[in-house]
């Protein structure tokens, strides 16, 4: 090595010290590997496809089922036929139109609530976990209160007083649903806060906001996405429940209100199964898709489950692609 040449890049700090320059990780790897792995996970992929399918149905509703879903098209309770492929409901409206258009409100409420709940959860969970002490005690107490007070009865009471509209439902759902994400964020924050890079940032005098949002938050991306999927699932299910109870705006067309009208127009009694099965199945499939997506995420980000999947591959004599943990096989039983 020739003299005068320094093998690594150096920087000169403000006080005149010579330090090695930080090594910049190649972009696209590291923090976001879980996102790439997600596309390789069979469960996650299937779940993603199901959810995207319904999102597309919602977006292209005017093309898939043209016409007003609330208009009366024919005699009530017609069985499915070539003209009305899902039949007509108890008042003579087209069930297919209602199912397709119902996706719009149900999914809007689901995703809006999911985003809002995650945002509140992040704000409160991160503050509790980062500041600890008295702030944590108080915020944790509030979280635990909201976790222990039963959500659906509270929602029923709230919607009895509120004049329900799409956005009041979103607000009410977020009000009863933020505590669980907040608790997950808090515990994640508590463990990340102990990491060396956080201590380093504190010592170097970074502001709290900068440490939380630029230092810690990116490391929680997978948890945040996971908890958001859970929140969307909760919101869609609960909106459907409230809708089926007739506690949302019953003149809106959503999967929940479809079920309400099916019951109200005695769909069960007259044997018109086509009035409640399509909307119910849609809710179930979206919920199933979101759960699959979440299980897939869990398998990718949870080291223990990851090891177990590798183990199953070994048991089934599949070749391992990239082993991240040593599989151990118990042969005794």
């Amino acid at each position: 090595m020739r003299t005068g040449q320094i093998p690594i890049d150096v920087e000169v700090t403000a006080v005149g010290q010579v330090v090695p320059a930080p090594v910049v990780a190649p972009s696209g790897t590291g923090r976001l590997t879980w996102l790439r792995n997600l596309t390789r996970n069979r469960k996650a992929l299937l779940g993603f496809c199901i959810v995207i399918f319904f999102v597309l149905v919602a977006i292209f509703a005017p093309l898939i089922a043209p016409g007003d879903p609330t208009s009366y098209v024919s005699r009530p309770n017609l069985a499915p036929s070539a003209q009305y492929i899902f039949g007509t409901e108890g008042q003579g409206k087209d069930v297919f139109r209602q199912t397709v258009w119902g996706a719009r409100i149900s999914l809007t409420i689901g995703f809006a609530t999911g985003a809002l709940t995650t945002f509140i959860g992040l704000l409160i969970g991160l503050s509790a976990g980062y500041f600890r002490g008295k702030i944590d005690d108080l915020l944790s107490l509030i979280m635990n209160l909201f976790l222990v007070i039963p959500g659906l009865p509270l929602l029923v009471v709230i919607s009895a007083y509120l004049r329900p509209s799409l956005w009041t439902i979103v607000l009410a759902l977020a009000f009863t649903g933020w505590a669980w994400p907040a608790r997950i964020m808090r515990s994640q924050m508590l463990s990340l806060r102990e990491k060396d890079f956080v201590s380093a940032s504190i010592v170097s005098g970074e502001s709290n906001a900068r440490i939380i949002f630029l230092g810690i938050l990116p490391n929680m991306a997978s948890i945040i996405v996971g908890s958001m999927i859970g929140s969307v699932n909760y919101a869609i299910g609960t909106e459907a429940a409230l809708g089926a109870l007739g506690l949302t705006n019953v003149s809106d067309v959503s999967w929940g209100t479809n079920l309400y009208w099916a019951q109200n127009n005695a769909g069960l009694f007259v044997g018109a199964w086509w009035t409640f099965i399509p909307s119910g199945l849609c809710i179930a499939f979206v919920a199933f898709g979101l759960s699959l997506l979440n299980y897939g995420m869990d398998e990718i980000t949870n080291p223990r489950l990851r090891a177990e999947r590798d183990l199953n591959d070994v048991l089934k004599d599949r070749t391992l692609r990239n082993i991240r943990a040593t599989p151990v096989v118990r042969r005794s039983h």
Binding site: V148, I149, V157, Y161, Q263, L268, W273, I283
Partner: protein
């Protein structure tokens, strides 16, 4: 003991919080219940009755703080006012009846689902990759994704309306008296099967998965290897060594599940017209019976709090570590 006292303190705060939410909700949200009732009476009520209605609902023009203390003292005395829809019965009488049915349905469903789910989880983890482990958990996850009320609708439609295997409505047959005899008990059980099965099916997946994942961890512990080395039978190791330790998270979840059952049950009760608290709650909302609705919300909340507290007490018996903590 300190643990129990701390938990008790928390539940008292929680009870107070739900009382306060219950008080402020109708007062902070725009529009007042009395006007809603007045508007929906379609001219049957005279305008001067509006003020009487407000008084009956405890909505007066007094300062909010005074109203709040009047309200608290009424609740402490167990006075929830008079039900509008079941006039002149006091709210407490209406609720007492519903409570028994909710407890019967929720309790039965929860216990069956807890036992079945955990046993399947234990066996599944023991023979990992076996038949049970490969088929049941995914199937239960799929069923669990169904909203409980939709599953209830399906069960009601196919099993009760189409095949007539089960009764459609209510908690016992209308044609028999409520004397406590074999006939009555049989009818109650017959009416319980469908709603309880629905709840069991929806909730079981959670228990299976939770138990299985904890068991997988516990089975790797040294004391399980030790037990095997001692030559204990498989059954002894499975239940007395592994499952016993893996059960702790499930017990914590039991309290949460109870709240979930009482919440989720509302719809199942409504669909089967099962006369529990949830059914009453929805009926009180649709008939604008605000005193009954408020009392029911409190009742359901207190039931959940009480159940959680009992679980906490049990927990100290199962896990000695929390007793000192």
């Amino acid at each position: 003991m300190r643990f129990i006292l701390r938990r008790l303190g928390f539940y008292i705060i929680a009870a107070w919080a739900s009382l306060t939410i219950n008080f402020f909700l109708p007062r902070l949200i725009p529009g007042d219940p009395a006007s809603t009732i007045f508007a929906s009476s379609r001219g049957q009520l005279r305008p001067e009755q509006l003020d009487q209605m407000r008084a009956a609902l405890g909505l007066s023009k007094e300062p909010l703080l005074n109203q709040y203390f009047t309200y608290l003292s009424h609740v402490l005395r167990g006075d929830f006012g008079t039900s509008f829809s079941a006039f002149p019965a006091p709210v407490t009488a209406v609720i007492g009846n519903g409570f028994v049915w909710t407890l019967l349905l929720g309790g039965t469903a929860l216990i069956i689902s807890f036992i079945l789910g955990n046993v399947i989880g234990i066996i599944g983890s023991w023979k990992r990759g076996g038949l049970i482990d490969n088929t049941l958990p995914p199937l239960l996850i799929f069923i669990g994704a169904f909203p409980p009320f939709f599953l209830a609708l399906l069960a009601l439609y196919f099993l009760a309306y189409q095949f007539n295997w089960f009764p459609h409505l209510h908690a016992y047959s209308d044609t028999i008296g409520t004397d406590f005899n074999l006939n009555f008990v049989g009818s109650v059980i017959n009416h319980l099967i469908l709603p309880a099965t629905t709840i069991v099916l929806v909730t079981m997946g959670g228990w299976v998965l939770g138990m299985r994942n904890t068991m997988v961890g516990v089975l790797a512990e040294d004391y399980v290897t030790m037990a095997e080395a001692k030559g204990l039978t498989q059954r002894q190791i499975m239940f007395n060594y592994a499952a016993r330790n893996a059960l702790l998270p499930s017990i914590t979840a039991f309290g949460i599940a109870l709240g979930f059952v009482l919440s989720g049950q509302i719809l199942v009760e409504l669909i089967f017209s099962y006369p529990g608290l949830g059914y009453l709650l929805i009926k009180s909302v649709t008939s604008l019976d605000y005193p009954l609705m408020q009392a029911l919300f409190l009742m359901i909340t207190f039931a959940v709090l009480g159940a959680n507290f009992i679980v906490d007490i049990l927990y100290t018996r199962f896990d000695p570590r929390v007793r000192t903590g």
